[in-house]
């Protein structure tokens, strides 16, 4: 139909525009120029010969992976009359809830700033810069006094906001009726039921092999494991992102996991990426931000070093401090219901040329934020690669876990899905937990860890 064709052309045009600014575009251009020297490239069929050259040399595959990567994050084609905020979040009351939540966070951060008389950002003196550069690889050994800092918010504050989320057009009668939500989430988002989930996660079915189940010691490896590992190595040799994503639905061999995830996210450590990371490191050395102290405090409270279980504390600083300075993260706010906090250079209040985002990546870390990075430390040991993987995971997936949105993969839908499934298929357990007053634990505070006794919260109570 005409409409679908014009939608497709629009998507293609937008992806081409995005890819034009990427490293891959510059590389392809260089390769094309260099290939003119080759004997098989003839002038009369220039376009076809270069395309053939790209196919043989593997560059077409790289382009395919880049397009696949863009499509994964591309927001669904929307109506031309829809304003940008509608793309971020279509439901008006959710936008408002996210807006007031953000305002609370900003107020909390501003009040911390004024109470402690610490500036939001400060240029480091040269001596301090040298010192930080020297101990860059062992920032965990630092023991700064962070007792005055409190986290901007803890997961339980966010849970409270989600519990109080209400649609003004929804009839929430006082008397119990079929329309009453028995769980914590009170908004009627569409969630999948078991038959739909079975279809969605078809690779988890009983008749399909899964690593983690069908490779246990009792099962002979010839039945599934050997073949699956062999296919995994082939997928990596082909360097095809889409194939890797399909393959990994049946589990990933431990030895191949790091490379497979990097392939699916289309991360390859090019010299430009390492340079970019070094630039971010320089930004960390030059400017000290208030959010750095929040990051320090969070890491110390949640994921500091333990001889047996976690030895990557220094990596967490190296990733999170750089993450806060990375302006490329700002791009994801086009499809995130959240918006980056704004400020002005001192003395230039209200002048748009002096408007900046704070922190530079627009993401204010909360208590528990380092949990997003910690598991990745077990897979990647090179800081710039670890950084790239985390950043890509954040702008594709993790941001949905701490913003108020109606997206089916957002935290509200996930909580509602959990509650609905529990209520439908384990009603006695659900009822029992409600009766004993363990409503938060029974429903979904399983995934909202309780805050530390020292953590404090957004209301100012400690």
């Amino acid at each position: 139909m005409l409409q679908e064709e014009s939608d497709l052309s629009l998507v293609i045009a937008q992806i081409v525009q995005k890819l034009k600014g990427s490293n891959l575009y510059a590389q392809l251009e260089r390769q094309a120029w260099a290939s003119l020297q080759r004997p098989e490239i003839k002038l009369q069929s220039l376009k076809e010969d270069i395309k053939e050259f790209f196919k043989i040399s593997g560059w077409e595959k790289k382009l395919q992976n880049a397009v696949y990567s863009e499509l994964s994050v591309f927001p669904l084609p929307s109506h031309p009359a829809a304003p940008p905020e509608h793309l971020k979040e279509p439901l008006v009351y959710m936008r408002k809830a996210q807006g007031s939540w953000e305002k609370r966070i900003l107020k909390s951060l501003n009040s911390m700033c004024t109470e402690l008389s610490i500036p939001l950002a400060r240029k480091r003196p040269v001596g301090e810069q040298k010192e930080l550069l020297n101990k860059w690889n062992e920032m965990g050994t630092d023991e700064p006094d962070l007792s005055l800092f409190r986290p901007v918010y803890a997961p339980k504050d966010f849970l409270e906001v989600l519990i109080n989320l209400r649609n003004p057009n929804y009839e929430n009668g006082d008397s119990l009726s079929f329309r009453t939500h028995l769980g914590l989430i009170q908004v009627p988002l569409k969630v999948k039921d078991i038959p739909e989930l079975k279809e969605f996660f078809v690779e988890l079915g009983l008749t399909t092999g899964q690593l983690g189940i069908d490779d246990s010691t009792q099962v002979p490896p010839e039945l599934f494991e050997n073949e699956h590992v062999r296919i995994g190595q082939k997928v990596l040799a082909e360097q095809d992102s889409a194939a890797a994503q399909q393959y990994i639905r049946q589990g990933s061999p431990t030895a191949l996991r790091a490379e497979l995830w990097a392939l699916i996210l289309n991360i390859s450590s090019q010299p430009e990426d390492i340079l970019y990371y070094e630039q971010l490191k320089t930004n960390v050395i030059q400017h000290d931000l208030l959010v750095d102290s929040l990051i320090y405090k969070d890491v110390k409270l949640t994921a500091s070093n333990d001889d047996y279980y976690f030895v990557f504390e220094d990596y967490l600083y190296q990733v999170l401090l750089c993450f806060s300075r990375d302006t490329s993260v700002l791009g994801h706010f086009a499809y995130n219901s959240a918006s980056p906090p704004k400020s002005y250079i001192r003395g230039k209040l209200g002048l748009e040329e002096y408007a900046v985002f704070y922190p530079p990546n627009g993401v204010i870390p909360f208590h528990g934020f380092s949990m997003y990075v910690a598991p990745l430390c077990f897979l990647y040991h090179e800081p710039s690669k670890l950084y790239q993987i985390f950043r890509e995971m954040y702008v594709r997936f993790f941001f949905r876990l701490h913003s108020i949105s109606s997206h089916p993969s957002g935290i509200v839908s996930l909580c509602l899905l959990f509650e609905t499934l529990l209520q439908t298929y384990l009603p006695q357990l659900f009822y029992h937990l409600r009766e004993i007053g363990a409503q938060p634990a029974g429903s979904c505070c399983v995934c909202f860890p309780s805050s530390e006794p020292d953590g404090g919260d957004i209301t100012g109570r400690s």
Partner: protein, 213 residues
């Protein structure tokens, strides 16, 4: 194709309900919105655009101008178009929708009046309607140009002059040159949109407190 907005007058919604409207038990599940075009002659409808607000199903009836002296009759042009796949949940509840004339059941050549019939069978919602209703008709066609005679009626191919030995075929050369010219034009026209990556303003990142707007 271009389109032109048609000024319309949207009358207030009328609820259709069985029995006594004043009872609070149960809210109306059917609303009717009449759309008239007081200052416009009968026109050809191109597109209807609106923002949904919790309407589950939409039907549209149209009254068209007939050339004969019979009074114009109401005809259904859209029947039970689904806006919300699950009327009890939020999916599709606040989306922007466009309906085009090729989706209609009848010809929309001389529209006089429209009647939108909104249905929301679920009792969960307090109210439902459609907002920001806009009607479009076909825009003016681009002015027709008269082509010079040699462009619209090319002469039959002349017999090509015999090729001189040693020179390449002229038609092949011209197609190659054409291709190369197209490639150079493309390179000239493209520009990158690389990100700058700097978060400070001229090396300074000394900030005021965060703004709330």
């Amino acid at each position: 194709m271009s389109r032109v907005s048609v000024p319309c007058h949207v009358k207030g919604t009328v609820a259709l309900q069985v029995g006594d409207v004043r009872t609070s038990q149960g809210r109306p599940g059917v609303l009717v919105i009449d759309v008239t075009f007081p200052s416009v002659a009968p026109f050809e409808l191109q597109e209807i655009m609106f923002k949904n607000y919790y309407t589950a199903f939409l039907s549209i009836r149209v009254r068209q101008h007939t050339s004969t002296h019979t009074p114009p009759k109401w005809v259904t042009c859209l029947r039970d178009y689904c806006l919300m796949p699950d009327p009890h949940s939020e999916e599709g509840a606040q989306e922007y929708i466009s309906l085009f004339k090729h989706q209609m059941l009848c010809d929309m050549a001389r529209v006089l009046e429209l009647r939108l019939i909104l249905r929301q069978p679920s009792p969960l919602w307090v109210s439902f309607t459609v907002e920001e209703l806009q009607i479009y008709q076909q825009g003016p066609k681009s002015p027709s140009m008269t082509f010079p005679k040699w462009l619209s009626h090319p002469v039959p191919c002349e017999q090509p002059a015999p090729l001189i030995e040693g020179l390449p075929d002229p038609s092949r050369v011209s197609s190659e040159v054409q291709q190369m010219w197209a490639l150079t034009e493309m390179i000239r026209a493209s520009h990158t949109s690389t990100r700058i990556g700097r978060f400070d303003v001229d090396g300074c990142y000394d900030l005021n407190l965060l703004s709330y707007t």
